[in-house]
């Protein structure tokens, strides 16, 4: 085959071009640290890289939400711990107040102390986060959630929960509203409340009260009256639904509940049983303070005092349970956040390492290839110089 002199040059130039193009590409890869410069380099890998970018952005978002929620729930947890301590202390004071050895002066002191705790509890309910927003106001977080009104404490927040996404299809509430915390308690033992008639003259007072079968309890009003050593239970239409001999400590059962009494009722004494009503914990405490400030003077009054005290103590204990429950869910959420944080951390590491595999240049490989290209380029240049030096004209001088 004939080779034209021009094609020798063309061939060398084409091949030098080819090497230099490859070298320029390698240089771009090495200097940017990235294997792919545009999607055209490897469309599938580029798409994978983009979706990993998206995934990493999502993980970062979730991580930010986790730490926001951790911070807010941490503050809530503090306020709840303090609240439950306060309620605990009030319970202890109530037990103290309920002993017969207290003098009227010491009862006044106890009542003042209770008042202090009451104020404290209110202030915990109005706790704020670092930015001046109220923790327990729901979404109404710029207005004071608990205010003291003439007829008790009002809740001014709402019940909207703010959910933060901490994973795909997974979110966590970053707060709890004050209504569910302090306002939804119920009077008595939560199912029914027992109160002594004001005219009672005996010393009978409730010893125990419990729900045996919630299905049988109908929420009606009942009266237990005593006469001649016997008791009688009547419903609101005065129908007798149970009766028997009164034995202190023995349970009186009707409509799925059981109450027992201690002490000796006078003839005609009666206790009424009714469904529990909504009663916020602040009302319970202020009732308690009111009770302690007015100690009984007579044995009959003492029985009345005891009856009310027992009811209020049950309410207080339910109130404490409510706070403890909420605190329990906060703890569970914080634990879930810890898990999420760990899992997001490892997801991030794995996404980043995959992204690095997809997109980052292997420097060792790229520099080796650059070296090879350099050697080839030098060889092409050398070959061209050699071929170019061969001309018949040189020998024809």
């Amino acid at each position: 085959m004939r080779i034209s002199t021009n094609s020798t040059t063309d061939l060398a130039v084409a091949s030098i071009n080819q090497q230099q193009t490859a070298m320029a590409k390698l240089q771009a890869q090495i200097s940017s640290g990235q294997k792919l410069q545009t999607a055209a380099d490897d469309p599938a890998a580029w798409a994978q890289g983009m979706s990993l970018d998206q995934q990493i952005a999502n993980i970062n978002t979730y991580t930010a939400n986790v730490s926001t929620a951790q911070q807010r729930l941490g503050m809530e947890e503090n306020a709840l711990a303090s609240s439950s301590n306060v309620l605990q202390s009030i319970s202890e004071l109530a037990i103290q107040a309920n002993t017969a050895t207290q003098s009227p002066q010491s009862l006044q002191a106890i009542a003042s102390q209770m008042q202090q705790y009451y104020e404290q509890l209110l202030s915990y309910g109005n706790a704020q986060d670092g930015e001046g927003r109220y923790l327990f106001a729901g979404s109404n977080s710029t207005s004071l959630p608990f205010t003291q009104g003439s007829s008790g404490v009002n809740y001014n927040g709402d019940q909207n929960a703010r959910l933060l996404a901490i994973g795909p299809n997974r979110s966590v509430a970053d707060s709890d509203n004050g209504a569910s915390l302090f306002m939804t308690n119920r009077s008595g033992n939560g199912t029914f409340e027992l109160s002594a008639a004001a005219a009672n003259t005996g010393t009978a007072q409730p010893a125990t009260s419990q729900v045996l079968d919630p299905g049988l309890w109908d929420g009606g009003s009942y009266s237990i009256s005593f006469s001649g050593g016997n008791y009688q239970v009547t419903d609101s239409s005065n129908n007798v639904i149970g009766s028997g001999a009164y034995v202190p400590g023995n349970g009186i059962r009707f409509r799925g509940i059981e109450v027992s009494f201690s002490g000796q009722p006078a003839d005609g004494d009666s206790f009424s049983v009714g469904a529990s009503q909504q009663k916020d914990v602040f009302k319970t405490i202020s009732d308690l303070i009111g009770l302690v400030r007015n100690p009984p003077a007579t044995a009959a009054g003492r029985a009345q005092f005891q009856t009310r005290m027992q009811g209020l103590q049950a309410e207080l204990s339910n109130g404490l349970d409510q706070v403890v429950n909420v605190r329990g869910t906060v703890g569970a959420r914080l634990a879930a956040l810890d898990d999420a944080s760990n899992s997001l951390g490892s997801q991030l590491v794995s996404a980043k390492s995959t992204l690095s595999d997809v997109r980052d240049v292997d420097l060792a490989q790229a520099s080796t290839e650059l070296n090879q290209r350099t050697v080839t380029l030098q060889a092409v240049q050398l070959a061209y110089a050699k071929v170019q030096g061969l001309s018949l004209f040189q020998y024809l001088r």
Binding site: A40, W46, A47, S51, R162, S180, R186
Partner: protein, 618 residues
């Protein structure tokens, strides 16, 4: 002896000419388009030598092959350059949409974590502005490419016309010397070079005529050169006012755009249909979907002032371009009825005098429409709605490219950070004395436009299975069921007991509720395109990788075409190219022959002298 003299002189002349040819070869060894020449020698009857012809060494088959190779390489290379431009644009970390999209949704998520923070609200607006800028800049880059293509077409067409008239001129001169003793080699070389250039520009077929001239046709069959006559190409504006120049031919400028397929012109036209159209449509679809989804979601919440959310982005309208031949004055406005149904197709809307018809431009298939084309009942098809105003004449047509120019319309309409509706429009609560169900959640705002959406409502359960609304009515209920009214839907947790109540009321201003912000942020991964199967970020990824694939393929095909072209070039160089070593040998050969011929003459002269002196001597 006189014979010897005659043959000697003929040899001197012949070798002199052969040496001329060799020197011409040497001096043109680097001239592009030059074909190597050889001297064909012939014996004369008297035993002398005669230059029969100076032959031009070419191969007609290789020449034809190089025409095809040039046309396809130029076409693919032109396309590849534009493809890599768009690829760089959409993939670039600073020019692509990926970053701004991510920023926007990250900002929305920040808003969800603290909806009362003005800084977070500002961040959302800033990210929305960034997104709108990026859409605008991508669209303007693509429009820039459109005008770039127009410019390149103008240039290519003027080169084609110049080459065609030069070829016609050369045809004329070549025909004049046709039948002469010596072929016009230089003219043929010039013409071949021009024909190759023409092939690179548009892709041609050639037909050789008996008189030595060649006729040239485009690949679509339009004559560019017929003997010494030419038909000029020109550019005319496209029929539908797209701003695109189209190729026309002849004095009457007949539009032949659809029949052009090769060379630079073919590559430019390919880039329009295979690159810019899909890219602009995909970008526009993203723009329309994003703005509509964000606006719709924002309208489902309340802003910081306690008002229902207004548009964050300006609503986008689609494009319907009237034909320049339309006689009527009807206007067509294009809306988006269902972005999930949008396709990448373009449509033609025709009026036949009594009714309107929609056809898919690429497939030609009829697309059924519902509705009447009025404002109250627009035509609806393939996710778009068409509204006709004014009077159309029979035969009027419109080119409907639903999202092609949408990206330029992405604008943030509000700069007031309070206008972002982060909160749900309603606030729900359960009665404090509830014993069965103590909390209630909003499932969804089904119809934010309901006039009673935010009216206060109290739902009271008179028994676990019946409830009343605002004290009236009695509705059956079973635990876990949703209660829907006034455009909202809520579900009480657990099983409500008798006496349980739930309240729904308007969300207050400056609320810390993030219900709608969460939904706004969730648009990032929500399936909103393609029938609800593709999210915005997935659609962007698909667009980028699709353009990347086109660019990758274009580059591979252009490399392959280049290799083929180079191979053909090498093959034809092997026939037509000058090898200096060969010429050096020829130089020596003819020089020696010339010297020998001179010696013959000298010998003849000696012989003659010998004879003369012999005669003188006798």
């Amino acid at each position: 002896m006189s014979d010897m003299m005659t043959t000697g002189v003929s040899a001197l002349q012949a070798f002199r000419q052969a040496l001329n040819t060799v020197s011409s070869n040497i001096s043109n060894s680097s001239t592009p388009g030059y074909s190597r020449e050889t001297t064909a020698l012939q014996t004369t009857p008297s035993g002398g030598v005669l230059v029969q012809q100076t032959n031009r060494m070419t191969d007609a088959i290789l020449f034809q092959r190089s025409l095809g190779d040039n046309a396809s390489y130029s076409r693919l290379d032109t396309f590849q350059q534009l493809a890599s431009q768009i690829d760089g644009l959409t993939s670039g970390s600073t020019t692509g949409l990926g970053g701004p999209l991510q920023n926007f949704f990250t900002a929305l998520n920040g808003l969800a974590s603290d909806p009362q923070s003005t800084a977070n609200r500002q961040a959302v607006l800033a990210a929305a502005n960034g997104l709108s800028d990026q859409f605008g800049s991508l669209q303007s880059q693509m429009s820039g490419m459109e005008s770039n293509i127009n410019d390149q077409l103008t240039q290519a067409v003027s080169q084609i016309n110049q080459a065609a008239s030069s070829i016609a001129d050369l045809n004329n001169r070549i025909a004049l010397s046709n039948g002469g003793p010596q072929a016009p080699n230089a003219l043929l070389d010039q013409r071949d070079a021009l024909v190759k250039q023409l092939a690179s520009n548009i892709g041609i077929t050639t037909v050789k005529q008996d008189d030595g001239s060649i006729n040239i046709f485009t690949a679509g069959g339009q004559a560019l050169v017929l003997g010494s006559n030419t038909q000029k190409l020109s550019l005319v504006p496209g029929d539908y006012g797209t701003g695109r120049q189209e190729v026309a031919i002849g004095d009457k400028a007949i539009n032949v755009n659809s029949q052009i397929s090769g060379g630079v012109v073919g590559g430019l036209l390919d880039a329009r249909s295979q690159l810019l159209d899909p890219a602009e449509t995909a970008l526009g679809t993203l723009a329309v979907t994003l703005t509509q989804a964000v606006n719709q979601q924002n309208a489902q919440g309340v802003d910081q002032n306690g008002a229902m959310g207004a548009n964050i982005f300006a609503p986008i309208s689609g494009s319907a371009l009237p034909s320049s031949r339309n006689a009527g004055s009807a206007g067509v406005s294009v809306g988006f009825a269902d972005v999930g149904q949008l396709t990448n197709a373009s449509y033609r809307l025709n009026y036949d005098g009594s009714s309107w018809h929609l056809t898919d431009v690429s497939s030609g298939a009829a697309v059924p429409m519902t509705g009447a084309g009025t404002a109250a009942s627009p035509f609806v098809a393939a996710g778009i709605s068409l509204q006709i105003s004014g009077a159309a004449s029979a035969g009027d047509s419109y080119l409907v490219k639903p999202t092609a120019y949408a990206a330029a319309q992405v604008q943030v309409t509000t700069q007031d950070p309070a206008k972002i509706a982060a909160a749900l429009p309603i606030s729900v609560s359960s009665g404090l004395g509830n014993t069965g169900s103590t909390s209630v959640a909003v499932n969804a705002i089904g119809n934010a436009a309901d006039p009673d959406l935010r009216s206060p409502v109290t739902i009271l359960f008179s028994s676990p299975s019946t409830y009343s609304i605002n004290g009236s009515g009695s509705y059956a209920y079973s635990a876990g069921q949703a209660i829907s009214l006034n455009g909202w839907s809520i579900t009480p947790a657990g099983a409500p007991a008798a006496g349980d109540s739930f309240q729904v009321g308007p969300m207050s201003a400056n609320s810390g509720d993030n219900g709608n912000a969460v939904l706004l942020a969730g648009l990032s991964s929500k399936g909103v395109l393609n029938g609800g199967n593709t999210s915005l970020s997935a659609a962007n990824t698909a667009m980028v990788s699709q353009i990347g694939s086109i660019a990758q393929l274009a580059s591979a095909r252009s490399d392959a075409a280049q290799a083929i072209q180079q191979q053909t070039q090498k093959d034809s160089d092997a026939v037509s190219g000058v090898n200096l070593d060969e010429e050096a040998a020829d130089l020596v050969r003819y020089q020696q022959a010339y010297q020998a011929a001179a010696q013959v003459i000298s010998t003849a002269q000696n012989l003659f002298q010998t004879l003369l002196s012999a005669a003188r001597g006798t």
